[in-house]
Symmetry: D2
Subunit: 367 residues, 4 copies
């Protein structure tokens, strides 16, 4: 009911806040016998970590993950897996000046009304710090789905008005981490970095878009009505801080197309496998994966914390000016790339497990 849990079969619950002791996650329902690759988890966390480059917040966090429960000899036992990431850089004093202030486009006001109380230290639970726990859990999910060949790969496709127009299939996705902005088109990446540096120096922030591709999804994942694969992905993405939009396959552009253009004709590939010639569907039909690559785009608004003065109201209803203080990201998308991958992996892991009971013949097969 309070919504800290995500997933039905592969289920995670996150906890913790930005300026408390740390953040963590319990994974319940991960099958026994999976090797836990702690380095891979840590490596994804590093990609999300603050202070990783000149275009992210300069707040320092090591984001070192610690396994609290559920692992024996590097393997899952079927018990809940708990991962914990302690907070290091808890300068709560940084936030004292906003104790009674409603910062524009932050959750200060809505939390105050909802809970009658507010954890002002860095936003408490509304802070993007909670996503570190998602990345840790998502990396375990990535480990699980990779045992079935599935990969989730995200990259920055827009920063403000600068777009990478090349479709994902024509990009070299191995180059994503070759630029600090995580755009695989390295020429576009340079322009993006320059833009972020410019707006950072102005004390401003800018939005962006992340594209994500999921390869090798088996046919038959997803449920036909409410738990369609794209519905669960949409929820997963819109649950990330600052996300304002989601589109899969042809997306909003598809709304302007004709059926005769948009339909994906079935054909056979060289191995006599059923494929579609085009892929406007984005790998899902009727909510269920059809074996083609799944791809979707996620829109992030500009960070709300500016290094500029802004008009606002305090909790007494007085008009005030909010000063720009603290250390924040001029643009969130470079650090959000592993978050998008993680949430996508969690959705696929959940549906992979759920798909095992769709037909009687499958259930009978399982020993």
């Amino acid at each position: 009911m309070a919504g800290s849990t995500f997933g039905k079969a592969f289920q995670i619950t996150t906890f913790g806040e930005s300026h408390g002791l740390g953040v963590g996650v319990v994974i319940d329902g991960c099958p026994a016998g999976l090797t836990l690759d702690l380095e891979q988890i840590q490596s994804q966390l590093h990609r999300r970590r603050p202070g990783q480059s000149s275009i992210t917040t300069q707040r320092k966090e090591k984001d070192a993950v610690k396994v609290l429960t559920g692992i024996l000899n590097d393997e899952t036992t079927g018990a809940p897996i708990t991962l914990w990431i302690g907070n290091l850089d808890q300068k709560s004093a940084d936030y004292d000046h906003i104790k009674t202030v409603f910062r524009p486009s932050h959750a200060d006001y809505t939390y105050s009304i909802k809970y009658g109380i507010r954890d002002h230290r860095g936003g408490g639970r509304s802070s993007a710090r909670e996503t570190a726990a998602r990345v840790a859990a998502g990396s375990v999910a990535q480990g699980l789905i990779s045992a079935f060949g599935v990969t989730t790969t995200a990259y920055v496709s827009s920063v403000g008005k600068i777009n990478c127009e090349t479709p994902y299939s024509d990009l070299n996705l191995t180059q994503i981490d070759d630029s600090i902005v995580r755009c695989p088109d390295l020429a576009v990446a340079k322009t993006m970095i320059a833009e972020i540096e410019k707006i950072r120096d102005e004390g401003n922030t800018v939005g962006g878009v992340i594209t994500c591709v999921i390869h090798n999804v088996p046919v038959g994942l997803g449920e036909p009505v409410f738990d369609r694969l794209e519905a669960d992905l949409a929820k997963a993405m819109l649950s990330i801080n600052a996300v304002k939009g989601f589109e899969i396959g042809s997306g909003f552009h598809g709304a302007s197309m004709y059926g005769s253009e948009h339909n994906d004709p079935f054909t056979l590939d060289e191995n006599e496998q059923i494929r579609t010639k085009s892929n406007y569907s984005g790998g899902v039909q009727g909510g269920i994966s059809n074996g083609m690559p799944m791809y979707f785009r996620v829109a992030f608004k500009p960070t709300s914390t500016l290094m500029q003065s802004q008009q606002s109201i305090d909790s007494e209803g007085n008009k005030i000016v909010v000063e720009g203080k603290g250390r924040h990201d001029p643009c969130v998308v470079p650090r959000a790339v592993p978050i998008v991958e993680s949430m996508a992996s969690l959705v696929i892991a959940d549906h992979l497990m759920r798909s095992r009971t769709s037909k009687l013949s499958s259930i009978k097969q399982t020993l």
Copy 2:
């Protein structure tokens, strides 16, 4: 797990298929003491009904709703409410020619693999007929939230490349049903209708966009992490057939903006109530409603069923040609307007009830 249930506190489960006896829904968790307005439910169903105008499918369905359980003297009793809509026009024979055919961009192939069996009669569970049950339940939800002053209003804002550019706040939303395409800008509506008629006559189909506005949402609805109000709305919308995209507030456009433009400054209105000057947030901050209007856009792909021949594959892997037969919508958005409103109402009803236990003082107040 099989995903026919939606919502946590106000919870619905739909059942039924397009060419069986009918479709229905159980609503569990509707509070006792709500007057059920059967006419309002029927009226929303009529807006979704096939055969309602020259630009929708000509298949005839009365879509008469019947209350099976949960109501005594027109009032809810706290027991599950069951609504049933019988199928009239079940020409299954219409579908015999596609029994072994995988129609492009339909769910034929994915269902075959997932279930090892396929209900070919009109798509079975993948048919948009299931959404009649959602509209019935959504109308009950609308009745509940209207007791708190909340309204959900959707309209067609694009058909193919024809867009209604006027923002919702400058439109006369009482005119939505004045045109069969359900666009409140009646001049644009005419162009849209002409476009749909043209592509219909070509045996083609076209996509479109629906905009939805939710007025008077109380402050404090939504949960901060996974069950953000916008996340649940995104899931609700992407669970509708043919939907490929969702954006709230500034949406994808917001990704190209600067923080200094995008932030919504807090201010006081004439009644000393806290409001924001702009509303790029779309009424949610930190996943929780801030009392401003919520608005979002939903992208629908063109209907997959064409009255044209298409290349495809059958279940034996043979290359075949699918002929255009049956009676389908050239453009789904006019009929999808009440579906979008219904899913939005279900999300708000659920969160309205969930919000009652966020703080101890609220729980103590309740008698």
Copy 3:
């Protein structure tokens, strides 16, 4: 939240009330490809039906089940299965005299306070009529688990102070339906029937106990912490009207034993399969099935409706006398036998499906 849903993977939602149109159930998550045996469902419903013998209520109900959705050519399709049992004998007038009366040990008072409204016609949702829907769904579950060799068999082991002392393993369980009281020890059955007839003629009622045995449960069903097999069975049984107690294996008697007596030593049977010599555990260890028969006992209180005058209070707080009217069971256990079997089958079906994802090797095996 309102609790009309049971199960996680094999999930049912019941609806309907005693004096409305009927009762029904949606089953979501039943795998595709299962043959639905409508006769077996009807036959279980007949065992629960009122008016079936001289020792049950004489109220007449045909309890004819109708399949509304989810079946094509007698086979499940993976879509939700809806079963409906119309009410015939709705003499609501029978209940007008209790409209404002709080009958002793009925739910009249608690419903009035909880809902602020009360469906007085036969108890509405609190009526045992709701269990007809459970029996219908439970029979589908029985069909599913029987595909894995599992059987659930219940019988009456006590009526008032008359007990069948013979353990289940020494009884001929094929004789259960040879007596109208459903006790397989036919000599004891006769005494039980005489006792029920006596108390019926006195306008009184009496309690009883049902014993249930589940054979051939595969090793490994059940989850280790909250969803232990015995915990889910306990919930299932205590959710049946009039049930006041549940015990599995040694039960309450086990509380008076020593560990040296109670422990079940492991051994090998003639097929080199691991078995236990004794079975005080009742087939579960650590919440998980160990392959031995599961057996448990369920205590039912005497029916609350008497054909005698009783002191009570009405909704205005006046002292009143409740007269004995209506047609009710002198003893509920004979008709409750199929209900116990059904709820047990639902628990096993749910855990059978859930068990398919406990270990990575199982998930990989499934095609």
Copy 4:
């Protein structure tokens, strides 16, 4: 699906195992504004702690609870609350001799089959150590319900064949902790202690019964069908290690009674409040609380670990002898008293919150 979560509105997820780093719990859905009484939590943990007296296991654990998340200035914020109890005394070496052994009536065998892997160190997740996390969470729930006047009080009513025959209402419940066995009848307590000492010295173990009383439950808690108050209590109790039975109100004895004896007549108390004269119902009617005290009994089997040699099988199928080693409880009931209270408090807290949305008038009242 993996069942480490309990509750719907007030929801807990436990994690951790006996010989790992520790055990913990996340509480999601606790309302904001509740003062957390850390001393009360610690005090309940001390009542569960090993090594607390001569009649419990001599294994030493401090069971010091640490708050990881969700609390600001001793108050809940609405964020998930995480409590952690580190393991101190992890003599895994104690368990090396049972690495491949299936100990009688333990979960060794069932876990091996279910997970294909086994955490042999002290039973891993099947260990009663997991219940420390429940006690921590249950104490928070006790804090919440005590804000509404509700109290949960448990005591030992049987040890082996020694019973405390006095009904709870005639006992001085403030004396429960006056004896180390936690029976408020201090004469009976002495006999119980002597019995436990005797069987301990024989290397044997013995079962027992705990009685629990819940006072001041408001009328109207519980849901009418599957989530009856007694059904959720039964599940809660049967989910505790070693529990084999549950009965509420008249329980199994009620099955032998007549309706004329068993019915609880309604009457008015001195404050014109509706009460029942007798209370065989145990405070619930139709699954919903009626304002009378709730009381129930929970049967615990004797501890499976004996200090005696036992015949068994190892994982290779060889017949072996299991030697009695380790430090275990001769009788679990004295330490299980706070566990029963905690699980009962969790059920009441969950239903207290759920009950706030049963009727429209209540929802409207809440600000």
